[in-house]
C-alpha cells in the first residue's frame, strides 16, 4: 500500500497558541470538559507578555494566531482582555471562541478595532441547544441569539462551532439550514465527545451517524455558501485520492498547539488536558512561560512522558488504520479520556467524526 506521510513527530514552532484569559465561564453547558469553569482565575498580563515575545517572532516568519479560549474569554472583561492582547504585534492574528452570550455593541467595536476574528459556540435551533445552559440550569439560547445579532448588526463576519449530541438523519439538514440563516461563513461540526469532566457516553448507532453526515452533504450541496470544515476536508481528501496525491496531504509534523493556562502553564496538543492530573503523567504540563520562554518549552518539553506515548499511538494508527491518510491519527484527549492512555488507536470519537464522516460522504454519492 502507498505510504501515508505526515504527522511524524511534533513541530517546534506552532501555527497557533490557545490562551485562557480566565477560567471562568458564565454558562455551565452539560457537556463541557473544563474543570475550573466556576472560578474566576485570570491570566496575569505577564503571561501574555511572555507568550507574545515568541509569538511576535513566529508571526514575522509565517502566519501565526492566538486563540482566546476559556473559560469564556469575554468573561474576563474588555479592559483585561485588551491588556492581554496588547503585547501581540499586528502580524499576529487574534481569534476569540465565545459562547456569544456576552456579545454586545461594545464588544463588537472592541473586536473591529483590533481586527479580532470571532467564532461562536451554538448548537443549532433552540430545541437542539438544550445543553447550553446558565449556572442556574436555564437555557442560554435567547442570550446566544442576542449576541449573534450584535455581530450581524456590526457586519462582523463570524464562524460557528456546533456540538451535536444526537447525530441522526433529520438533524443535519435542520442544522445546515439554521446556520445558513444565522449567517456564519464557516462551520465546524463536533459530535459530542467524552473528555475532561464530561463523562457522558458517546457511542452512537453507526448507521445513524453515517446518515447524519450523508444528509449534511446533501443539505450543503443545495446551497454551499458555508465552508463546513468536515466536508471541505473530506472532499479535499477524496480529491487527492483520485489525483494520486493523498499520501502527502497531511501536515509533515503535528502542530504542538500549546495551550497556555491562566497561570502560564503550558499543555501541548490538547487543551482538554489542561487542569487534569494523572498518577503517571502528572499535570500533563510542559512547563510554565513565567519560568522559561515558550519557544524553549517546545524544544525541550519537560515532564511530558505522555507525548511519546501519544506519538506511538499516531504510529499505530498509521500502521493499522485504512483511514489514517484522511484522519491523521486522532486527538490526544480523545484517546486519554476514552482509553485511559495515549497509545491506543480507534476511539468512539474517531468513529463518529472521521470514519463515519468519510463513509457518509461516500454514501451520499452512492445513493440511488
Amino acid at each position: 500500500m502507498a505510504t501515508v506521510n505526515g504527522m511524524r513527530g511534533v513541530s517546534r514552532v506552532p501555527a497557533y497558541v490557545v490562551m485562557q484569559p480566565t477560567t471562568l465561564c458564565n454558562l455551565d453547558c452539560v457537556y463541557c470538559y473544563l474543570p475550573l469553569r466556576a472560578q474566576d482565575r485570570r491570566m496575569p498580563v505577564e503571561v501574555a507578555r511572555a507568550v507574545a515575545a515568541d509569538a511576535n517572532v513566529w508571526a514575522a516568519r509565517d502566519r501565526f494566531s492566538v486563540v482566546w479560549h476559556g473559560g469564556e474569554p469575554l468573561a474576563a472583561g474588555r479592559e483585561h482582555l485588551g491588556a492581554l492582547m496588547a503585547p501581540f504585534g499586528p502580524a499576529v492574528e487574534q481569534h476569540v471562541q465565545t459562547n456569544a452570550t456576552l456579545l454586545d455593541d461594545a464588544w463588537c467595536e472592541f473586536f473591529a478595532a483590533r481586527g479580532v476574528r470571532v467564532s461562536v459556540s451554538v448548537d443549532g435551533p433552540e430545541d437542539l441547544n438544550g445543553q447550553r445552559v446558565s449556572r442556574a440550569g436555564r437555557p442560554a439560547y435567547a442570550r446566544i441569539v442576542q449576541g449573534i445579532a450584535a455581530l450581524r448588526r456590526h457586519g462582523q463576519s463570524f464562524a460557528a462551532l456546533c456540538v451535536v449530541g444526537d447525530p441522526r438523519p433529520g438533524v443535519a439538514s435542520r442544522l445546515y439550514e439554521y446556520f445558513l440563516e444565522l449567517g456564519c461563513d464557516t462551520l465546524g461540526v463536533n459530535i459530542e465527545e467524552r473528555e475532561g469532566v464530561n463523562e457522558r457516553a458517546n457511542a452512537h448507532d453507526p448507521a445513524a451517524v453515517r446518515a447524519f453526515w450523508s444528509e449534511l452533504v446533501a443539505a450543503w450541496r443545495a446551497d454551499p455558501r458555508i465552508h463546513v470544515r468536515e466536508l471541505e476536508w473530506s472532499l479535499r481528501y477524496v480529491g487527492a485520492v483520485l489525483d494520486g496525491t493523498s499520501g502527502d496531504l497531511l501536515p509533515r509534523e503535528l502542530d504542538p498547539i500549546p495551550t497556555v493556562g491562566h497561570d502560564g502553564a503550558v499543555v501541548l496538543l490538547s487543551p482538554e488536558l489542561a487542569g487534569f492530573h494523572d498518577p503517571v503523567h502528572g499535570d500533563f504540563s510542559s512547563g510554565n512561560v513565567l519560568q522559561a520562554p515558550l519557544s524553549e518549552l517546545l524544544v525541550a518539553p519537560r515532564r511530558t512522558s505522555w507525548v511519546p506515548e501519544f506519538l506511538a499511538g499516531v504510529e499505530a494508527c498509521r500502521e493499522t488504520c485504512p483511514y489514517f491518510g484522511f484522519c491523521g491519527g486522532g486527538h490526544a484527549a480523545n484517546r486519554y479520556f476514552e482509553h485511559g492512555r495515549f497509545d491506543g488507536t480507534e476511539t468512539e470519537h474517531c468513529r463518529n467524526s472521521k470514519i463515519h464522516l468519510l463513509e457518509g460522504v461516500l454514501d451520499h454519492v452512492r445513493r440511488p
Binding site: 502566519r63 450541496r221 454551499p224 503535528l254 482538554e272 485504512p322 461516500l362 452512492r366
Partner: protein, 64 residues
Amino acid sequence: MSDALDRVVDRIRDVRGELAPLLEEARLARLARSEVPGADSSAVCAWNHFENIPTFFNWNNRPR
C-alpha cells in the same frame, strides 16, 4: 494487511464518476466564497492554505 489498508482508497476510486460533480461543485463554491490566495477578510481566512487554517477550523491535530 496491506489489502485492508488500501480498502478505503479503493472504494473512493470505485465512485470516481459519482464524486466528480461533487468535487466540481465544491471548487466553484470555494471560488464564490473568495477562498482564493490573498483573500483574508473572512473569519478564518485564506482557505486555500488548508493546512494553515488557523485555530479550530484546521482539520488535523486541532483542539475543539
